[in-house]
Structure formats: structure tokens, C-alpha cells
Symmetry: D2
Subunit: 317 residues, 4 copies
Amino acid sequence: MIRQAKVDIHRISHICIRVRDLEKARHFYVDLLGFVETERDGDHLYLRGVEEAQHHSLVLKRGDAPGTCYIAFRVARPEELEKAINVFNEYGLRYRKFSERGVKDAVIFEDPEGMPILLYFDMEQVGDLRLKFHMYRGLPPVRLAHVNFVVNDLEREAKFYMDAFGFMETEYFLDENGQKFVTWLTRKGDSHEVAIAKGRRGPAMHHFTFYVHDVRDVIRAADIMASAGLWDSIERGPGRHGATQGFYIYLRDLDGNRLEFFTGDYLILDPDKWKPIGWTHEQARYRADFWGRATPQSWYEAFPVEDIMTGELKSRE
Amino acid sequence: MIRQAKVDIHRISHICIRVRDLEKARHFYVDLLGFVETERDGDHLYLRGVEEAQHHSLVLKRGDAPGTCYIAFRVARPEELEKAINVFNEYGLRYRKFSERGVKDAVIFEDPEGMPILLYFDMEQVGDLRLKFHMYRGLPPVRLAHVNFVVNDLEREAKFYMDAFGFMETEYFLDENGQKFVTWLTRKGDSHEVAIAKGRRGPAMHHFTFYVHDVRDVIRAADIMASAGLWDSIERGPGRHGATQGFYIYLRDLDGNRLEFFTGDYLILDPDKWKPIGWTHEQARYRADFWGRATPQSWYEAFPVEDIMTGELKSRE
Amino acid sequence: MIRQAKVDIHRISHICIRVRDLEKARHFYVDLLGFVETERDGDHLYLRGVEEAQHHSLVLKRGDAPGTCYIAFRVARPEELEKAINVFNEYGLRYRKFSERGVKDAVIFEDPEGMPILLYFDMEQVGDLRLKFHMYRGLPPVRLAHVNFVVNDLEREAKFYMDAFGFMETEYFLDENGQKFVTWLTRKGDSHEVAIAKGRRGPAMHHFTFYVHDVRDVIRAADIMASAGLWDSIERGPGRHGATQGFYIYLRDLDGNRLEFFTGDYLILDPDKWKPIGWTHEQARYRADFWGRATPQSWYEAFPVEDIMTGELKSRE
Amino acid sequence: MIRQAKVDIHRISHICIRVRDLEKARHFYVDLLGFVETERDGDHLYLRGVEEAQHHSLVLKRGDAPGTCYIAFRVARPEELEKAINVFNEYGLRYRKFSERGVKDAVIFEDPEGMPILLYFDMEQVGDLRLKFHMYRGLPPVRLAHVNFVVNDLEREAKFYMDAFGFMETEYFLDENGQKFVTWLTRKGDSHEVAIAKGRRGPAMHHFTFYVHDVRDVIRAADIMASAGLWDSIERGPGRHGATQGFYIYLRDLDGNRLEFFTGDYLILDPDKWKPIGWTHEQARYRADFWGRATPQSWYEAFPVEDIMTGELKSRE
């Protein structure tokens, strides 16, 4: 019951973000939080969750400022990359061939709203750590769950992800004028793989999220950050989302990049029966935080993304 | 990346079992365990989990002995039912039109090994109880996760589910002679929706399983059974499965039917990269119960299934 | 190793608070949160936690405004009540004989800072609900853990509880001038049974706290309040305290009275080795909320207490 | 409300057991389970739980066979050690002066049934790890909760602990003839600090138990043992005790010594109101394991204890 699409996207796969000091970032992500280190080359650290067999789901790239290099999706078949080229041309999108450690053949493009997106079919498999409980550290993170980013024209962007890539909408927020300003989209059928918000700051990254198995693992993230003296890294939560039902915490890494740990969301059992859940302005109190707590101002900050051609962070004004 | 199939099965949907006393069964399933009651007619009680919007995922039917009426799958499109008829004819399987409360058009058939299976496309939706925490009782059960049954010819049965319905194998057990005797199959990509064991007792039902959100909900099932004086209902567990990684408990209802509560299994992120996990006889100690504990003899008992034409339990000898 | 005391206080026992509508309060405390109802007379509802065998640990008394009637301690022997009279006379404290449902012989007095305190030795026992898991509702609350109140002269009040009643200090907060303004005291050796804050509003009640067995029960309190539409009842948390280490949530009942659910604090293994933990102004960020989150302004509100002679709420100005 | 006693015992403090290989034992206790290592000298490893400030609560001593050197209690005041000498003489018990790393002045004696018991008042304090969540490993163990041992004459032994040391009984088991054969005793008021069973093997050690904060930590013990390949170390559980209500798991260390992790027991709120809970033979099914599961035969094995004069394991026949 997968929706028809111009390019058959299989799922969200990984994300590459920028950090200033790889060694310090390694301490934060691996020693404190429990990400699994696959390997390291000069300017990159390749990490994954304990139930991911692929080479990496999180790449830390050395850079002089925080930001996002790209978000990556896996396509369902090799030939989908060819179809993707057609789509890029059809939509007039910039793109180029790309490769990274573990992924020989990829294509990176700029989506209609300027987000840098990587598509690939084949990544090296290194094996997961399922059932290796004595090797778990930190929470531990289980697998990449979703990403959230900001664009100027939400309607155009969402339409692209639905028409070209086959995503379906699961939930959305309306503002006081009844205009949609956040949408949650899924391809593989959990509560979402991509959330997109409307904002003048776009294109910009908001956060990426790893699934954990238990609410106590979410709480442990807060306890660990605090006991390590990293109070500035606890930005919001732990709490319960109204949209998606997920139990969450938002952290900031040592460079300011925002990540979320998350559990307890639902599955879309029947996509065709699902009516996207619209949360109105009257429900603003509990749609983002189900318990009715205010969102800290800092949480509205978003992060620059790289230009796919130059690798420089795009300036925003 | 859904596998091609003669009939596009969307997912496991529900199960119908037989109980002798509907009122006592209601107390067990609804009052103690927290299933949601949708409605009741003369001889049936229609139940669902708190995150299921469909009319029912568990039907209790009055009957003079425990057993299973049928297992039900939803197909991906209405026309798949037509394709199913072709498959039944191709394989020489008995079938007939069927309907039940909430499902007008269904077809019930006997699979190659004699299991009664219902296929349908459209079921009445009554709404889920997501986020209605103050209404939760018991554990509560979240959604039907999988079923497990027994057949004489495992190879033939598994081939049917893979070829005709598009299931993929995620794990399997080998016996001391290197022969496969249990297989785990999934269509939608979690650890499994169907497990099939080889046994002379087949065709027979082994158990059905509801997902819960937390290991403490699994433990609560044991605590509730014991404090209600239903020690005979706690058959096996709580424990951790090696195969599927799930944290589990097996209960027997008041008529002896076996049900499981389960959480913490994995997702098949990339079906094409997945190599079915084969557990050898040398790993027998921890493949079924990861902690190495013996399985009680009673757990090997299986339950008769109804003849799809007569509604009588098939006799087994 | 119990400290010597003029009156041998055994432990914190119960609290009586005022609510406007007993029926609505019953819904909040019993139906939603899972307190056990012992019985009801015209103007009172007597409640207890699931592991308390005594007649009540929480009395809801009908009243035209929220507030606290009294806090109650059990003394270690009947003759301690006689010693208490001597102490009241020594300190010049007002007192009178008192009785309540389940407690024939008690004495109520006004402590040096004006808090209404009840002492008794013997309360009717009605039995606990330990191991009766199938009867649990809501969280459930387990037992009264501690109370927190506000007085003008903290030094005098704390000295009274230590000298006269044998409490020991476990933790304290210093303000920016190095002056103590909150103190945590225990008699029986957990993290605290009484916390006292300095404030011009005193004598006034701040909150009472019930222990629960698990962080998920604390989280469930928030989920239940929110799903029942009672967002105003979620005042602060869930969170982790620095002082006491407890995992907490503060609720407001339908009349505004503040209650806390709490788990995960420590035991004072060796009172004589314990050096009270002093939290300085420099540690203000994480001493109250270990995760460094701000305390909402409403949390600083305190509640009037009754005059022990008239039963009227004392006016504060 | 502490019971009067000839010697005012403050609480259970620590235990010393024998292991063959200190390095392997360190891996088991520290690396896998998360005990905190205080220090090591030639033949001893000194460990504690994360919320214990004392030098050690578990001593591993190099020895050629598993067994228990002694169980240690802290007395409430220095002069209680003098009173203890009187008691030893009164009861005709063997004793001698003793010291260990961190404890200069102790006395070790053989109780009426031959168990080696150490009493002390003053141990070096090294600080606890409360709130240092980023340093936690394994479960982690929190604090020593209780010990369980076997004696020939249960009545005499229990009477000694109650009369001489002031313990009270909280629960007991009766055999098919109505004779008591296990008793649970507490001094400080939790469910128990000492459990004593009747058996011809006595004097012998059965197990020692560390408290953990959460049922998931108990489950993690099983998961970690299994994933480290130590299935033989998982002897019984996880499960729920009827007696004490505790959620438990019993492990065997690499030398065969038995340890338990445990959470969720109750407090004795009012010792004078407490009527010891007697479990009859008719309740045998659920008094030991509340869920009604059989106890594995190996669990009945007990371990030799050292002679307090020679340090040799006493032979038993």
C-alpha cells in the first residue's frame, strides 16, 4: 500500500552535520550518549545506532561552524537514481554525483526550497549490535527516526515530497489564520520520517531524531547531560508530544546542533484510512507539548545548510 | 521495497478465537488486560488495542471448545481479492465468500496446509484511543503484532506465503539435522507478522501477540494475572526472545487459548540487505529464550482450527 | 542510631487539606490518580496509598477555599503524647485535644512558626493493597513521602524540629548572601520527610508528596492529567531534583492545592556520617531541577493553613 | 520505634566472599554489572554500589573455592562493640578482634548457628556517586539490601537476632507440617535485611542482594549476562517475589557465588502494627515466585562459610 511516486524512496537513511572538534564531538556522541563508532577518517566520524547495520546514520564532519551538510534517503532500487535525475531536471533542481565513505554512488541535489538532499541505493553494511547488551553505553540510540527542517514555501516543499517521492502526510499544524505551518510526512509508515516547518529562515535544519526503546532512555539523556555538566545541552523536554505521541527530549551538541531522542510514537496501520490529524490554533497549548508546557525561545532557532556545489554554509539574511 | 506478490497483502489484521463464556472472557480481556471493547452481538465480542482505529483486531466467538476460527489479513487494494481467487484456484485451495461485523466483503480460504485465513480490504473504522491515557486500563494492549501457527509441511507453507503473498523471511530455526522447523515472516517490515512451526499437530494455532509499549507492561501482565489468582494463565516468561529480540510473556486465557504480549523487537530497515538469521541447534539454549531458560512443556501444545465450510473444529489425530 | 529527642516522633503520617467539592475531588484523586478510598463521611473523604495499611494518609475536607487543615506525625509510643504537652508548654505553643475518624486520641498544636500539626499514636488499620496489582488504578500512589511548608523564621523552626522532635538535616539551600533558606529534614532516614522554606508568606503549606515505584508512574501522572484536559493541573516537571535526587512532578488539584509524585531518592545509610549537602547560590541552576530548567513562577505560591482553635484559614497579609 | 536490643545493630553493612580469580571477578562485577571499584590490594577487591559512601559493601577475596568469609553489620555506637563482647560471652560464642581495609576496629564472631559475622562501628568514607549518571555502568547496583543464609536450628538463630540484635520478623514460610522454615528479619525497617532458612546444610550462605532503582535494571542484568555469553550465571528470574513483593533476579558469579538484584519492596511504616505475614504450604505456589513458577533445583544449593579463627572454609557433611 506504498504510495506511487516518481522516485521510489525507501526511507530516511542518514544525516551529515558539522562540528568544530571531532574529538570533543566523539566524547559527546559516543562516550556520553552511546552512539556506535564505525570508523573515522581525517575529517569525518561515522556513527550509527545499535540496531543499524549500515556503515553510518550520522556523519560528523569537521567544519568551522555548526550546520548540516545534507540529509540522506535510500531509494528502493538502483534505477530510482536515474528516475531521480529526471525529476531534478523536470523541477529544475541543481544536482551532482556524489560519494562518501561506504557509499560509492550517490547523487546530491537541492530540493525546491534549497535543502541539500542525498539519494543513494547501496551502502556498505557493517552489522548491527542487536542483542549485544553488554556493549551498550549511554542510552543507547537505536536508529535514525526522522529529521525536521524549515523552508520558506511549505506548500511547495510538501507537494514535492509527496508527488515526487511518495510521502504521505500524517499530521499538521494550522496557525491562527488557518494556514498550515508544520507538516509531518512518512514514507515507510511510522508517525513520520520528515517534518517540515514554514519559516523565513529556510532553507535551514531544525533537528534530527534517534529512536530509543524506552522512556527511561529519554530521561537518561537528561540525567547524563546534567551530571556531565552540560546543562546548556538540555534544551527542551523530556516531554510528550501531542503530534506523533512521541516521548521526547531535545539536546544541543557541543557545537549547538540540535538532536532529539524519541520513543512511543504510533504506526500508520492503514495509510489509505488515515486522515491527517490537523491541530488547530485552539489546540496550541498541547499539540507540541501534550502536557501544555511552553516551548523555550531557543528551540525556534534553525541551522544553516551547505551549498551542494561549494560545501559552504549558505548565508541567510 | 515491498516484495512483488501475486496478491498484495497489506498486513496482519485480526484473529477470531473461540471462548466458552463471553462474559468471563470479557472480564479477562477487557477488565484485567485492558483490551478496548468495540461492541458485542449475540455470539461475539469485538475487541481492539488502544492504537487501533479499526472495528476489531480480536474477535471472541462463543464456542464449546477453545480454538481459532481464522486469521485475517488486509489486502492492499480491493482488486487484490479478485487476484486472491485466482491464486486459490491455481493452488487448488477451498474458499468462500465471507462477511463479519464491520467487514462486508471478505473471502475465507484454507491455505495449503489447512489454516483458515480471511482476506478483506475494507473494515469499518471506529477510531483509536491514542493519547487518551486516562482511559487506559490493564497493560494496555496497543495493536496486534503477529500470529504463530503449526503446519505439517513447513517448506510448502512458507513458500506459499512468500510467493503468493510476498512475505520475506527474517529468522529461522534449524533442528539437530539442519532442517528448518520454524520460520519468521514479515510483510510490512517489523520483526515478523507470521511465524510458522513444523509439527505433526498441524494445521493448528499456537498463539497470537499484541504489542505493548514498555517492558513494564509485559511485567504488569504477570502481576495482574497472579494478583487475580490466575496463575494457570501465566505460561511462559516474562523473558527476552533471542529470535526477534522481543521482550515477551505468554498467557493462557480462561479457555486455554494462548496469547502473547511483546515489545522491543527491531525493524527490517533494508529488506534487500537482510540475510535471514539462522539459529542452529547449537544455539538452542538462547534462541527461543535469550536468557537460556527452558520452555515449559505445555507451551508446545497447539489449538485446533475451524473448518472454513462447517465452522466446526477440525479433528486432529 | 535514631537521634535523641524530647518527643520521639516516629514518622510523617498524613495530611488534611480542604477542597470545595468532594465529589469532583474524588474523581481527581481516586478515579484519575488511583488513590485508595477508605471511606467517606459527610464532610470528609479518607484516602490512602496502595502500600499503606492505616485508615488514611490524605484527608479531603470540604471547605470554601483551598488550604491545609494540618500535617500529622505519628509518635513512637503512647507516652510521647504526654511529653509533647510538656514541650508545648515549654515552648509556649497553643494546643488542644483532637480526634478524627480512625484516630481517637490526638493532640493538635501550632508549631513555633504557626503551622498546625497533629500528633497521635494509634490509628485504625484497614489493610494495605500490596500485591493486589489487578486493583491498581492511575499511577498508583504508594505512600505519603513528605511535606513542604513555608515559615518566616526558618532557623527557629528547624531548630524546633531537630531539638524537640529529633529530625536531622539532609540537605539545604543557601541564598546569594550565604543564608539558608530551605532545609530538608528526616526522622526515619530517607531523603526527607519535611522540607521547610523561608518566606514572608509563612506559615503556609507548599506541597505534599506521595512516593511512586517508577519514573513511568510519574510520567503517567502528566499523561493522565493532559488527556483528561487538566493542563492547569500540571505545574512543574516531570523532572529530576538535584536536592534529594528524586524524579518528580508537581500537580495542582481542582482547588489549587499542590501535590507531588516522586521516586528514586536515596536513603541515609549512616546518619552520623552524613554531612548535610549544602547547595550554594552558584549551583542554583541545577539544585532544584537537576536538568537546569527554570521553575515556573506559580510554583512559589503557598497555601493558607487553618487555625487549630477555630478551623478557619489564617489570613496572611 | 526501634526495638530494644542487647546490642544496638544499626544495619546490614557489607559482605566478603571468595573468588578464585580477582581479575575475572573484576570484569564480572565492575565491567559487566557496574559495581564501583574503591580500591584493590593484593588479595582483595573492594567494591560498593553507586549510592554508598562507605569504603566497601562487597569484598572479593582471593580463595581457592567459592564461599563467604563473613557478613558484616554496623553497630549504632562505638560502645555497642563492648556490649557485643558481653553477648558473645553470655551465649558462649567464639569471637576475636578483627580489622580490614577501611575498618580498623571490628570484632568477628560465630553466631549460635555457626555463621561468621563481623561487627564494627567506624568505616572509612570515600563518597558516593549519587547524581553522577554519566559515570554509571551496567545496571548499576545501588546499595547492599540484604543477605540470606541457612542454619540447622532456625528457631534458635532467629531468636538470637531478635533478642540480642533487635531484629523484627516481617514475613515467614511454613512447611507442610506447619513448621516455620524461612524467616525474614529487618532492623532498619525495609522488607528485610536478613533472611534465614532452615536446612541441614547450615551454617551456609545462600545469597546477597543489591538494590537497584528500576525493574529495567533487573532485566538488564539478564540481558547483559546473556549477551556476554554467561547463561550459566542466570539462575532464577527475573520474577516477582510474593514474600517482600520484590522484583528480582538471581545470578551466579564466575565462581558460583549467588547474588540477587532486587527492587520494589515495601517499607515497614509501623513496626508495632506489623503482623508478620505467614505464608502457608497451601500458598507455596506463589509465595516465593508470585507468578507461580517453579524454583530451579540449583537454587537450593548453599555455600560454605569460613571459620572465623582459621579463615578456612568449614567442611559440611
